[in-house]
Symmetry: C2
Subunit: 291 residues, 2 copies
């Protein structure tokens, strides 16, 4: 019996060297004693006022960590997917393909990011999500999500907030692609990715592993592969970044920041509103209506 194409061949040829980053090979998820959505709770810890106990609740919401090889669809455009998931480990991209084949990468999905919003609220997913490296995904049953609002409104609020971050990031990207030049877009993209990776411990002070090819960078920024190459070269020539293989080092942070119109406090804007949060006293019955 020939091996189905499902598992090995397509996946292992894609990025053989990157497998080493992602845990040890394929240990079975079924018998796994306990995995955790550490990247997610870490993000929540950094930008919300959730207590340790509440973070624990978040951590235990999820079930069934699935392991996916590189290059596999987590969600496919046009198909139904009614699950809310979170990426535990690995890297993925969210993208949309136009009829003539042009592709727009909407977002790079990092550990701790949600998968399935907004797709799960629709009859069919509006875009696809594909893994770039071997990845692990956990799922959240919907009834459990809804029970959250009864039992732990503050935790439920945090889920809302995660949706908001997603939306806000799209808006940010819209203004980048709509208004900025190639150099500006690229440097902004690099700084944004660096910042996001730092929060979940995937990047150090000023360098990170860029998980995208130049073609994928182009599809994310609305530019061609060729022009990405030229623009990267320009950034290198100007001494703003240093590139060795997949590793990107920000050589001149202030200059790149100015060029990109990037605010150092970028992610600070995404902090969860405390005033709103405070209004939600734990599960006790709300007596008064608004304000």
């Amino acid at each position: 019996m020939p091996p189905t194409e499902a598992g090995t061949s397509a996946a292992t040829t894609a990025f053989p060297s990157r497998e080493s980053q992602v845990e040890a090979g394929g240990d079975g998820d079924a018998g796994n004693p306990r995995w955790s959505v550490a990247a997610l709770t870490r993000k929540l810890e950094a930008r919300t006022s959730l207590s340790a106990a509440e973070l624990e609740i978040i951590d235990e919401l999820w079930i069934e960590a699935r392991v996916l090889a590189a290059g596999r669809d987590v969600i496919t455009e046009g198909h139904k997917d009614d699950m809310l998931s979170v990426l535990i480990d690995g890297i993925a991209i969210r993208y949309r393909v136009l009829r003539d084949g042009r592709r727009q990468i909407l977002d790079v999905v990092l550990p701790g990011d949600l998968i399935g919003f907004p797709a799960c609220f629709f009859d069919s997913a509006l875009y696809s999500i594909t893994t770039l490296s071997s990845s692990k995904v956990a799922r959240l049953p919907f009834l459990r999500l809804f029970r959250l609002f009864k039992d732990y409104p503050r935790v439920g609020m945090a889920m809302f907030w995660l949706f908001s971050c997603e939306t806000a990031m799209y808006a940010e990207r819209l203004s980048a692609i709509g208004q900025r030049s190639a150099v500006e877009r690229l440097s902004h993209f690099l700084l944004e990715l660096l910042t996001r990776m730092q929060v979940i411990g995937l990047a150090d002070e000023s360098s990170f592993n860029l998980p995208l090819t130049q073609e994928q960078l182009g599809d994310a920024l609305g530019l061609t592969r060729v022009h990405i190459s030229r623009t990267l070269r320009q950034l290198r020539d100007d001494g703003l970044i240093i590139v060795t293989g997949q590793k990107v080092i920000i050589a001149d942070f202030p200059a790149l920041e100015a060029l990109a119109d990037f605010e150092r406090t970028y992610l600070r804007h995404f902090r969860m509103s405390d005033t709103l949060f405070a209004a939600l006293v734990s599960s006790s019955e709300p007596r008064s209506s608004g304000s």
Copy 2:
């Protein structure tokens, strides 16, 4: 081509300068017996499976209809706004201004669209919303929103779904601006606006009132004022559209559709997932609070 030839249009929404300055410092709707968020319920009726009773609940969620003159900020970037609102009447734009003054219009806000998502979940709003015409806005206290999930989970789910639509629309626009040419973007924009307006009864079969100046169109599509003018001219010369004043008539629907890569079923993709919706029946225990 005087713009006053709007004729019978029941809603006086489309004319920025027509309405006099009716500024409402506090709430200016005391004498009004009852307003309704008809555009919102109409949208929900078209694309969800909410019952008439549930639509009624939605309709009665909102308080304090504020009236705003044209050109007023509903939300200002950088300021705190912790209210979720809905536009009842009028037109507004959501936009973000870069440091050097370039502006990206993220969305055109029509009656029935939400205001305050995702801003209300953050410490400070990430973008501004400004009225283009005299507008009316209703607000939703947050505790009321959260009680919804306890008392009417299906209705709460519909709110989630509204957030999702917002996000999905951004994603759609991202791929448009990132991948498409000027003609494609513009025709897609026109068809999208037509479709959205039809749902809430602001447009007929093939024409509508375009509430934006060419400069605003440019800021929405990542193009310059001048190029919008040329592109509109091209569409007119090719017999695809007819423009008289603010009124836009789609003269050749199929051709424009093909050019824009626009799916006639565009908004159908945004239908609320029924399977998910049905799963919520069990936990529905309407312990109604109001009599």
